[in-house]
């Protein structure tokens, strides 16, 4: 029945995308005449008439709505009014930089937080555990833009080791990755710790100990696989945090990614670009959550058999 399950999840995801895209359409129409943004307030009436006909703005609203979706399907996301280029093209050329930053930061965050969480749980109430909890609170409370500035003060101003902005070399990546990774690592560490703590006193762990299995083996073979199951879902949620964090971090370190493009497009009200980014982020989020859901079903043997049983 895995197929049906996947189908239901996919349809739900598609519904979410549909709702969000409709909201974008509504907001777009509510925010005033789209031609004002495109042509400026005092445009030539002939030009206004030409574009009204071109974009079908004289048609009934439902037809505009269908056209809007039709356009999106064909990859027509409008034009950036700053340089007149295809909006999708402008956004897509920024994607690799953001992916590079985001994926490295996730890897770094996991590398930092998972061991911290596990150690915190294994040595509960020890100084190690207190470090984990303190790190979790810091990770949550320290705004990433402030952490970024502190890192610039330390590594650029004081130690003069790393460049404070731009991209191109590994040195440029260090601080953005540190900033972005740390802020999400806090909550992951905390979650890893609590899901580990939930698993440790389970009867099968006690049975394993009674069977004489050594502690390292007990932890790697019995505890970790079970603790990892809920962790997968939380990672899905963290993707959203990473995307939001990337917007801020890219602005702090002048990283040439989608986030910085978004901030500058919002300032200059380049609506086509903003809309394209919102749609891409929506698709990314829905797809990731879908994958997480499916991975969850695949990873958790209980769900597997349950569905087979039906």
């Amino acid at each position: 029945m895995t197929f049906t399950y996947a189908l239901i999840r996919s349809l739900r995801g598609a519904l979410t995308v549909l709702v969000l895209l409709s909201l974008v359409f509504v907001i777009l129409r509510l925010s005033g005449d789209p031609l004002d943004a495109l042509l400026g307030d005092d445009a030539d009436p002939e030009l206004v008439a030409y574009y009204t006909a071109l974009y079908g703005l004289d048609r009934p609203i439902w037809e505009q709505y269908l056209r809007y979706f039709g356009g999106l399907m064909q990859g027509d996301f409008g034009f950036s009014y700053r340089d007149g280029r295809d909006a999708l093209e402008v956004v897509l050329e920024r994607v690799p930089a953001t992916l590079q930053l985001g994926l490295t930061a996730i890897a770094f965050g996991l590398f930092l937080s998972i061991p911290l969480g596990i150690l915190g749980a294994l040595y509960r109430d020890s100084p190690m555990d207190r470090c984990t909890m303190a790190f979790a609170v810091f990770g949550f409370s320290l705004p990433n833009f402030f952490l970024g500035i502190l890192l610039i003060l330390l590594f650029t101003m004081t130690l003069q080791m790393l460049p404070s902005s731009g991209s191109g070399s590994w040195a440029h990546m260090v601080m953005p990755v540190l900033t972005l990774g740390t802020s999400s690592a806090g909550s992951i560490a905390r979650f890893a710790r609590s899901s580990m703590l939930e698993v440790l006193p389970k009867p099968y762990m006690i049975t394993a100990a009674a069977k004489g299995i050594t502690r390292p083996r007990r932890i790697t073979w019995h505890a970790l696989p079970n603790a990892a199951i809920p962790l997968v879902t939380i990672l899905g949620f963290r993707i959203g945090d990473i995307i939001a964090g990337a917007v801020v971090v890219e602005a702090v370190f002048a990283w040439p990614g989608v986030g910085r493009l978004l901030v500058s497009s919002v300032s200059s009200r380049d609506l086509a670009i903003v809309q394209t980014i919102v749609i891409l982020v929506t698709l990314t989020m829905v797809l990731t959550n879908l994958l997480v859901d499916l991975a969850y079903g695949w990873i958790d043997p209980r769900l597997r058999t349950e569905r087979k049983g039906k």
Binding site: S31, S194, S195, I243, A244, V263, S267, L271, V274, N289
Partner: protein
């Protein structure tokens, strides 16, 4: 009950609160007082420029006590600005969180009461909002509508509603099918009375906990946006705006950015610590045994 035993019992509770939480409570109180009396205690007008006294260091870095925390790039007194910024940031976050809590609670009740299509539509909206990082939503709306203070506060209010709606809907549904709400219904009480007098008081703890977890997140959202120059805008100031404009002077005067940063950090940390403690104390259903440190 007379006033004296009540005072005593408050003291007793206070003594049992962990030290870290006590400090946090005191710090949050200090911030609240600063927010309320910002204009009374501020030594200068927060917007008054003095271009002859730019980037003065604070007193602990060799500055004078005329400007205890120094001055910024336009020669404005940082202490006065900080007080105003605390007022704005706390007020925006507080109003925003309140709007979100009230809105979300009402929507949650509506979903649980009417069920059917109403519930489906609400849950689809909840899913849609949860599917996008809220920062992106805010940026998009600000891009489409342009920035203005009330829209911005309204957006802060929309931030948390979906968490409350989901939470309240679940709790009302379970209360309706079993237990005291079902009992009240069978006694012939009206739905409004049941929700107001019976269900709401019983889930209030959960609301308080959610509020205290939501509040620091709203502060972080506001300061992030203001830092990007897309939230609270000059001439008004906020902690994020101060930090953002201080960024231009990192080389010469790092404190202009670091001082508001520290305030943001301490405020969000204090409220989160209080929230965690409240969750452990008030809400056994949310308590993850593992989260007690």
């Amino acid at each position: 009950m007379t006033a004296k035993p009540r005072l005593m019992s408050i003291l007793m509770v206070w003594m049992r609160v962990p030290m870290l939480v006590r400090i946090s409570v005191l710090f949050v109180l200090l911030m609240m007082l600063t927010a309320i009396f910002a204009t009374v205690f501020a030594p200068y007008d927060y917007a008054k420029q003095n271009l002859f006294l730019r980037l003065e260091p604070p007193f602990f870095l060799g500055g004078s006590m005329t400007h205890p925390l120094g001055t910024d790039g336009l020669g404005r007194d940082i202490l006065s600005r900080l007080m105003m910024a605390i007022r704005v940031s706390i007020a925006v976050a507080l109003v925003g969180t309140l709007i979100g809590a009230v809105l979300g609670t009402i929507i949650g009740f509506v979903a649980a009461h009417f069920r059917g299509l109403v519930e489906e539509v609400i849950m689809a909206l909840v899913d849609a909002q949860a599917a996008l990082p809220f920062l992106i939503i805010v940026l998009a709306v600000l891009a489409f509508f342009g920035n203005n203070l009330w829209l911005f506060i309204g957006l802060m209010g929309i931030y948390g509603w979906e968490t409350y709606a989901r939470l309240i809907r679940g709790m009302v549904l379970s209360a309706n099918t079993q237990g005291y709400a079902m009992a009240a219904r069978s006694l012939g009480f009206s739905p409004l009375r049941i929700y107001r007098r019976h269900v709401l008081p019983n889930i209030f703890n959960v609301l308080i906990v959610q509020f205290s977890l939501n509040f620091p997140q709203t502060i972080l959202l506001e300061t992030s946006l203001s830092f990007l120059g897309l939230g609270i805008q000059a001439p008004l100031t906020s902690l994020g705006e101060m930090l953002g404009s201080g960024r231009d002077h990192l080389v010469l005067a790092w404190w202009v950015a670091v001082i508001p940063g520290i305030v943001i950090f301490l405020t969000t940390m204090s409220i989160s610590l209080i929230g965690d403690w409240l969750r452990d104390r008030l809400d056994p259903t949310l308590t993850n045994t593992a989260n007690k440190s």
